[in-house]
């Protein structure tokens, strides 16, 4: 049995905005994602050239070498707009809160062996700086990119990286009894430890990249695929007896990686499929930067997993396979 409340049915004059209807077909009702995203960015009749970069308009498709007939083709399969993004992350974060509470209640940090603790301090905590660099890159894509379809999820990703940098920081605070000592040490490692210098150079090189779609490939394909996956996905053995603790405390990163790559893979696939020129350019970028990421990660893997860099190679191979599956030729 169902109950039925009678409501007044009113005949609307139109189902959605004109620009949305022209894309999805007249007379169809639009989703909230579509209304919040499609054609939201200004495209024409700009007033002033930026003082800092007069060769471009503020919104200018020439800020990347790839060319799209329509920058609203690379849509977000997750259909995120601000509300659904925040609700998703708030939900993901509940698991983080439970994990930290559990770890604190059971004294998991104190139970780690000295060996494991050293590994976490040296190979996990410095990652907060890499997240911060990634945050800068995704914010750059937000400000410099073209079309809300790509730039709105980019600021979400930027928020994710800041959030993950803070989760990593909390792990440090859990280890050091909320004194911050471990975080200062981790920064020292990030800046000076030879094992990390390749990765630090990699992210610093990305910070000066001005082609925003190349930057998208560098960050979401190469750095996420090789370096973050090396630590979060392939690094279990490196945490020694703290393996479960770290797996639990980084559950957000696992969820995030699956969620974000649904989007970033779709964007790369769509932009590469637009033309042979795009495919060639993106393939070349991917090859260069996956290669650079593997080089950068090799000493890190060697020090972290004492594997001679094999895990970095494996992460690189997995990333190349992923790139090929997106239609790139590597």
């Amino acid at each position: 049995m169902t109950i039925q409340i009678k409501t007044l049915d009113m005949e609307p004059k139109r189902q959605t905005f004109g620009h949305v209807a022209r894309r999805i077909g007249e007379g169809k009702s639009a989703t909230r994602y579509q209304e919040a995203t499609l054609d939201v960015q200004a495209t024409t009749n700009f007033h002033y050239k930026p003082l800092y970069e007069p060769e471009y308009w503020t919104y200018d498709p020439r800020k990347t070498r790839v060319v799209m007939e329509d920058w609203y083709k690379p849509l977000d399969p997750r259909q995120y707009y601000y509300a659904t993004y925040n609700i998703s992350r708030a939900t993901m974060n509940q698991a983080v809160e439970r994990s930290f509470t559990f770890a604190e209640e059971r004294g998991l940090a104190e139970k780690m062996s000295a060996d494991a603790r050293k590994q976490v301090e040296t190979f996990l905590l410095p990652l907060r700086h890499l997240h911060w660099g990634a945050n800068m890159n995704m914010t750059e894509i937000t400000q410099r990119g073209y079309g809300t379809a790509v730039t709105a999820p980019a600021i979400f990703s930027s928020g994710d990286h800041l959030g993950m940098a803070q989760i990593v920081s909390r792990i440090g605070l859990l280890l050091d009894g909320q004194t911050g000592v471990s975080l200062d040490m981790a920064k020292e490692v990030w800046v000076n430890d030879p094992a990390w210098q390749g990765v630090r150079k990699l992210i610093e090189d990305s910070l000066v990249e001005r082609d925003w779609f190349q930057l998208f490939v560098i960050q979401t394909l190469a750095i996420n695929g090789v370096v973050f996956d090396l630590i979060y996905k392939m690094g279990d053995a490196g945490w020694k007896d703290a393996q479960l603790t770290i797996a639990m405390l980084t559950v957000f990163m696992t969820d995030w990686r699956a969620d974000e790559s649904r989007w970033s893979d779709a964007v790369i696939r769509t932009v590469a499929a637009e033309s042979e020129e795009n495919r060639a350019l993106i393939s070349q970028w991917a090859a260069t930067w996956i290669g650079a990421a593997v080089e950068a990660a090799r000493p890190l893997a060697a020090a972290f997993l004492t594997d001679n860099g094999a895990a970095a190679e494996a992460a690189g191979e997995a990333t190349v396979a992923r790139a090929r599956a997106l239609g790139l030729t590597l």
Partner: protein
Amino acid sequence: MSVKKLGLKQRYAHMTRGLDWETTYQPMDKVFPYDSFEGIKIKDWSAWEDPFRLTMDSYWKFQAEKERKLYAVIDAFAQNNGQTGITDGRYANVLKLFLTGISPEEYQAHRGFAFAGRHLRGVGPRVAAQMQSLDELRHIQTQIHTISHYNKYFDGIGEFPHMHDRVWYLSVPKSFFDDARSAGPFEFMIAIGFAFEYVLTNLLFVPFMSGAAYNGDMSTVTFGFSAQSDESRHMTLGIEVIKFLLEQHPDNLPIVQKWVDKWFWRGHRVLGLVAMMMDYMLPKPVMSWKEAWQIYYTEAGGALFQDLARYGLRPPKYADIATAEAEHISHQNWAIFYQYTHAAAFHTWAPDAKHMDWLSEKYPNTFDKYYRPRWEMWNQMAKEGKRFYNMALPQLCQCCQIPMGYTEPGDPTTICFRSSQYKGETYHFCSDGCKDIFDAEPEKFVQSWLPVHQIFQGNCGGATIPDVLNYYRLANGADNMDYVGSPDEKLWNEWQADKLKTAV
């Protein structure tokens, strides 16, 4: 040796500025290429006081909760045909002005704060700017969703991004934000973070939301309440930015003062649209523009600039002129739209006798003397079938882009004209404030995309009004002209008749 546990402030510092490092594989000046050309000197970024200490986990949690509540209201509003419960069909025109003129600027703010959130060298302000970038994306997206339901019934809403890039009066807010977006990151922070979000927000955001509350628009007012805590974060960022710049180096003062003068005046001109909305468009008015200006600029702004005087900053230049204009600006703006109703994407109407009495009461110094006679004449002409339309395209101010319809300070019967020469060309302005802004940056303002010039140059679809309306995607006979006789009015009257039928 025991190390002390972190206090909240230090803990937050670890969560934000502790993340940053001095790059060495690439020079810092290449990583941050845009933060030096404006001449602002920062001795010590670490002196930045975080205006609020919000980590991402709390941000997601609070914002998700607010969004759940907001969308529940938006859904309920649509389900129960809330659009029929507004005070009058005319009210929908306020939403048209808002979505075509203001919401796209929320988007501009989103992208602009992403620029500041990437390119300011200090980590503290960068994190705060990133959160504001996220918030501003929230505002454009929730405004679209809030007003989406009205779009299903009312005309003039459905082409808002297309119109924003093209329609003559929308170039006023658009050029304002294009100006801020094409400036460097520090000027952007003063323009939008301080002048707009701090000094003037109560004259922009609040009137629209209060107008919604007074006129039965539950959907929009719920958005307003939901955005309140975002807005107060933005205000604390705006005030922190200006104090920080002024504290960092004495050489910053003249630069910041120039920006405060510029953005106050530019903001004042954009707010003229809000003034006419408050005085003429709300079926149930909240307060007059003059009263709002008195409370939110003269009193609150006065206290603010008193507080900032210790840094040597003085109140914005021409603030006295702006205060004097509060007696006139809404009347002059609504008169412009009344004359050009055929080219506007919302409906206009002349105030009726009761409304004019309200205006007389609110504007005892000016309404009866200067503006009532004009409305009475136009009402009479309309009654005789000779409704007044101005078919000539107006001259626009090169700076604010508003038709040159404003009057001389102290002389409300003479139109104010100013001009400047630059590289052999003459440029025209509505006021000393706009002329000063041009004279300080002529190479920027000669670029203005002036809608009337563009029409004459053939860049807006053609030479006739139907051609231009077509270029605007402005549905002639539906989106434009007087409210009386419009499809909006017809639909509204049907809803009212239906309600009465049900009551009988």
